[in-house]
Amino acid sequence: MTASVTRTAHDVSAQALAWLHAHRERGGLPADATAELGDPNGVYKPLGESALAASLVLRESVAGGTELRLARELLDFCWSQFRAGDMLYERQLRFSLMTDPLETYVPFARSGLRHAALDGLLAHTSALRSVRGAEMLPNRRLAVANAARVVGLDQDGRVYDWAALTRATWLAATPEPWLIDWMTGYCVTHTVFHLTDWGARPTGLPEELADYVSTWLPVWIDIWAEIEQWDLVAELMIVGCCLPEPHCAAADWDRLAAAQHPDGLVPRDGDPVADDPDQRFADHQHTAVVAAVAGTLAVSRTLGGTGQRL
């Protein structure tokens, strides 16, 4: 069973990565884009997500040579879109309270693509009480803390109070599992992603929460798979890979593989998929990112990887 999970997860991930790579130009910034970004969720955020997928393929290094090459090229493409970090630097200069330049920088920094001026600016701004006190959802605070950890702003783990940040999340309340909703589902997945740094630190999830997630994750995957919410299902499958005792079920992988299109597109949900190539990419790029990450981590964990390789 484990062998079949490994193979299916690899195939889904490799095809999703190849699809992201093949269509990467559709996700490029306009030539006249500035750091001001009228619509940061339009292209800027998706570029960071593609870079995240590529960086985790490279971090885990469990894919074949082709996939590693595609991941490197995809990462380089995204980095070039951000003008090798200049754009992130300019955006952080212009908007000191915003955390997205730091968060977007993470996959590049993780892969050795650094920007010296941005490093200096982030070290300054991220330590300011004004920035640290900016109001945001609890799981978003964990995203910032993990970003700081990966970029190297919190190397001794003492700058951020991880226990307090964790306690503020929905997950930490170990809530009634039968009242979760779609948006809260995403809050849970991201709480786990950041506490474990995307599966690199499974023990970053406190034991009580790991037990809770292990108990209810199969239910949540089941009910959202039934209504074909593939994006959330694949995020929950990443969560399974982040647990100290990973949950990687063959049936889940067979179902996601069946939903994947022959060209590698992974539909975000059960709605009809557009024919227009640009629209297809805009609609389903996030789910391809999620599927590539889920598959990469599933391969790694089923082969015995336990993270802690930072």
Binding site: M1, E176, P177, W178, L179, I180, T215, W216, P218, V219, W220, D222, I223, E226, A249, A250, A251
Partner: protein, 280 residues
């Protein structure tokens, strides 16, 4: 009457009987509610079928509210077995046999077992004594399934073999997943009463997590009737002091406030009794 129409008539009559059981459980007792149900109808056959659909839950007022079993009620339940006799030999458990006849055989066993007990044909005790919590002493004692009960019950409905099977993911996806298993346990919810004991009860005790997952899944799918049926088992385990992965009390209250229909109301009321939640 066509089979479909008779099934609809049976279901409607079962809803009516469930309401009568609910009233009796909530203290509006003192009448022969099962016999009344059969007598005050223009479709006695449907009324007798309804007894078998509601099943052992017609004894819930006896088990949980300290009501005695009216002799006329005992006669009505016995008549239901005479008019709709169970198969002579019990159906094979799935996957060898079809699930539904086997589940029905289990429900019949539960009904026949409690009839034998409360009608006094096994021990002569009617009604059973209850302790200070309103839970029958039999539920907490060791005489969960005495040979006499099984023998007399067997005369009306023999005990089927097997119990719903649960396996680790991947071995037999369709038959033994927690999803299928918990749904079947919900279909056996009339057995989730104190004082009955069987391999089905042993399975419930062995798999509280699968029950809790099944109830959670049903709530999230807005399938409140199934959730309430599975919650019955969780409430029974809670009454027995078994540790559970979730607190059944808010779950049952959620179902009471969100669900509808007589069957769900009866399941919820029984679960509340098991949990010691007082009716307001």
């Amino acid at each position: 009457m066509s089979p479909d129409r008779s099934q609809a008539a049976y279901a409607a009559s079962a809803a009516d009987l469930a309401l009568r059981a609910l009233d009796a459980l909530q203290g509006a007792g003192g009448t022969a509610m099962v016999a009344d149900h059969v007598e005050r109808t223009d479709d006695p056959k449907a009324a007798l079928a309804a007894i078998r659909i509601v099943g052992a839950d017609v004894f819930a007022p006896c088990l949980l509210a300290g009501e005695g079993l009216h002799p006329a009620d005992a006669a009505a339940v016995a008549q239901s077995f005479a008019v709709f006799p169970p198969p002579v030999s019990t159906p094979a458990p799935p996957p060898a046999g079809a699930a539904e006849p086997w589940l029905a055989a289990w429900r019949d066993w539960g009904t026949a077992s409690l009839l034998a007990r409360f009608a006094g044909t096994d021990t002569g005790a009617m009604p059973v004594g209850t302790d200070a919590d309103g839970i029958p002493a039999a539920a907490e004692g060791t005489e969960r399934n005495g040979p006499v009960t099984a023998g007399v019950a067997g005369a009306l409905a023999p005990r089927p073999t097997g119990a719903p099977q649960l396996a680790e993911a991947g071995s037999d996806p369709a038959e033994t997943t927690w999803q299928t298993w918990s749904t079947r346990m919900g279909q056996l919810s009339p057995l989730a009463l104190p004082g009955l004991e069987s391999p089905v009860h042993a399975m419930a005790r062995a798999a509280p997590q699968a029950l809790a997952r099944g109830a959670t899944r049903a709530v999230l799918r807005r399938d409140f009737p199934t959730a309430a049926r599975v919650a019955r088992w969780l409430a029974l385990l809670a009454a027995e002091g078994e540790p559970l992965p979730l607190d059944p009390a808010p779950l049952v209250e959620h179902l009471r406030l969100h669900g509808g229909g007589p069957r769900l109301a009866l399941d919820v009321a029984i679960a509340r009794r098991l949990l010691g939640v007082e009716d307001v």
